[in-house]
Structure formats: C-alpha cells, structure tokens
C-alpha cells in the first residue's frame, strides 16, 4: 500500500480548458445560492389545491386504509349511488421501501393502475406509470426521469413509446431559478402519433415566488396562455386565481377561475367561481376521526340543466 502515499495529483488544467470554465461557472452558481424552483409539473400545484377539481363527487364513498406494517399499506374504496359512474370497488396496495415506492390499484372492471418510483439518490428519481385496461386501446405506459439540481430541475418523460411502430410522445423540460424569487422554464413536447406525423410544441413558463404568494405564467406555442396567482392570506385561508386563454385555429376562448379554501377546526370549505357561470362548493365536516360528512354543490348558470347538490358520507 506504499504506492498510494506516493501518488501526487498533478493539476493538468490550463486556464483555457473547458473544465476550468465549467468549474468557474459552477463556482459562481454556488455563490448565488439560488433555491430549487420546484418541478415543472407542479407549477400550478398551489393554485390547484385551492380549487375543488378533485373533490367533486356524488353518491356515497367509503375509503378504508389499513397500515399493515411500515412497508405495506392496503386501501379498499367503495363508491355507489353516483349518477355518472357505476358502483365500484377498488383495491389498492402500496409498498414503501427505503429507495422504492410501489403502488397499484385494481377495480372491479379489471383496470389496473401501477406506479413505481425508484430514488437513485435524493435528487434523482425514476418513475414508471402504467394503466392497463381489459378494453383494448385504453392502456398507457409512462416512463419518467426526474432530476432536481441545486437551482434547476430536469425532467424527461415518454408516454407510450413504441420502437416497433416508431411512435410515442417525448417530453423534455428544464426549469431554472434565475434570481431568488424568479424561475424560468421551457418544455418541449415531441409527438409522433403515427410514423408519418411529427409534431413539436414548446411551452415557456415563468414563476415568481413571494413570501406568501406565487404567480406563474405559462405560454404554449399552439396559442394558449395560462396565468395563475396563489395567495396565502392566513394559516387557514388560501386563495387562487387562474386565467386560461386559448387562441388557436379560429377559437378564441378565455376562462377565469377564482377559488378559495378555508380550514376550520373540524371542517374544510372550498368554493370556486368561474367566468362561464359555474359555481361549485364543497364542505367537508369531520364528525369523528376518519369519518366525515361531505356536501358538494355544482351549478352551471349558463347551462341551467346542470344542477347538482350531493350530500355524501365518507369513511376514511
């Protein structure tokens, strides 16, 4: 082992070499100490949390979650009495490992959703998502590689890649903090629905993060603009506004939505109103731990025919 001690590192870097320039840039970047901008996908996450997109449902629902050990968790969810969807039973299982996470659900019609995440280290995660349905043409496969650097995020995604038929969707996004509060990003979507058709669309985003507000702007090359603003008013009250403008192929549409979320001691209220005249609200009253009573209401004033108010009971 004497050889090890004799080894003398000789720096071969000349002032003009590429690596020294690269090192200089990375040194400078370290000095700036910029925060990670968050993921590209989670751009509108805060605003969406104040809306009730995922909370509207009708009929009865029961979700039972059983934690069997620190690595295994199963869920049973039943839903029935809905006017839109048939009664459904859904079984889910989740495995939580040190680096890996596996989650699968299967329903009574045989639809399987599978999710697999593997963290190579704290910054680098590979994700696999699949949806397999017994009816042909409804299956989906998504592979994703997510890398979170000190002040940037890179995400590569492919949906339904088929090297045999030479088709698929490929998405590449890059999101970089520019100052302490502003981050800019770009996303490229390359689509190949059939071997002959190729399509590339690009979208540019900007995000401003204040002390308790977040403003985002997303412009898609096809002619869509999405702006959102999130404001935390107090510990228990959040508000979000979103403006979507679509100017493409002769269509000129714009929708503005305002939503608010209020947390009470034993209840959560979410309300939302948009410029198409749609008003929706969800109140969730926690009666006992794991047992809540939910009332959802949804009125579309422009289309008078749609008028829904549903009380439901949820067991979690």
């Amino acid at each position: 082992m004497a050889g090890l001690g004799e080894k003398v590192s000789t720096p071969m870097i000349t002032p003009w070499s590429l690596s020294s320039i690269f090192n200089g840039i990375s040194e400078y970047r370290k000095k700036l100490n910029l925060p990670n901008p968050g993921t590209f996908e989670g751009l509108h996450k805060e605003v969406k949390a104040t809306f009730l997109t995922n909370h509207l449902f009708d009929g009865g629902r029961a979700d039972l979650t059983k934690v069997l050990s620190q690595h295994l968790q199963v869920t049973h969810s039943f839903s029935m009495g809905s006017t839109i969807s048939p009664p459904m039973y859904n079984f889910g299982a989740a495995f939580i490992g040190t680096n890996s996470f596996l989650h699968g659900t299967i329903d009574t019609e045989g639809n399987l959703t599978a999710r697999m995440n593997y963290a190579w280290n704290a910054n680098n995660v590979t994700k696999l998502q699949a949806h397999i349905s017994p009816s042909p043409g409804h299956s989906m496969l998504q592979l994703e590689q997510d890398y979170q650097g000190s002040d940037y995020s890179i995400n590569c995604k492919t949906i339904n890649p088929s090297p045999v038929e030479n088709t698929g969707i490929f998405i590449l996004s890059y999101f970089q903090s520019v100052t302490q509060k502003i981050a800019l990003g770009v996303e490229n979507v390359y689509q190949k629905p059939t071997p002959d058709i190729e399509e590339t669309t690009r979208s540019l985003v900007a995000k401003y993060t204040g002390t308790d507000c977040i403003a985002t702007l997303q412009w898609q090359e096809i002619g869509a603009l999405q702006a959102s603003y999130y404001q935390k008013i107090s510990e228990k009250v959040d508000f979000g506004t979103e403006l979507q403008i679509l100017v493409a192929s002769g269509r000129r549409e714009a929708v503005c939505t305002v939503g608010g979320k209020f947390d009470f001691r034993a209840a959560t209220f979410r309300g939302q109103i948009d410029t198409t005249g749609r008003i929706s609200a969800v109140i969730e009253q926690k009666i006992a731990p794991g047992f809540s009573f939910v009332i959802t209401g949804d009125i579309e004033h422009m289309k008078v025919s749609v008028y829904l108010i549903f009380p439901s009971i949820m067991v979690i």
Partner: protein, 50 residues
Amino acid sequence: MREETKEKILKATEIAKTIIHWGFIPFILYLGFSRSNPKPSLIRMISPLA
C-alpha cells in the same frame, strides 16, 4: 426492422402486459409481506372487514 422480429416484440409486450396486469398487486403484497416484521395475517391483507 424485419416483420418477424416486429411480431415477436409485439407478442412479448402483450405477454408482459398480461403478467403485469394480474401479477402487479400480488407482487406488491408479496414484497410488503416479506419485508414486514411482524408479518401481517393474510386475511387482514385482503379482506376489508378483518
């Protein structure tokens, strides 16, 4: 790509899909069961009432 190889790959994907479709949830349950200490009872893993 030759037609034969294409067909072979498509057939293999079809088989893999079937295996994942019916084997994924049992695989998760097996992984969780083998890593758990103490081992949960099988009935508690499957039945919502137990």
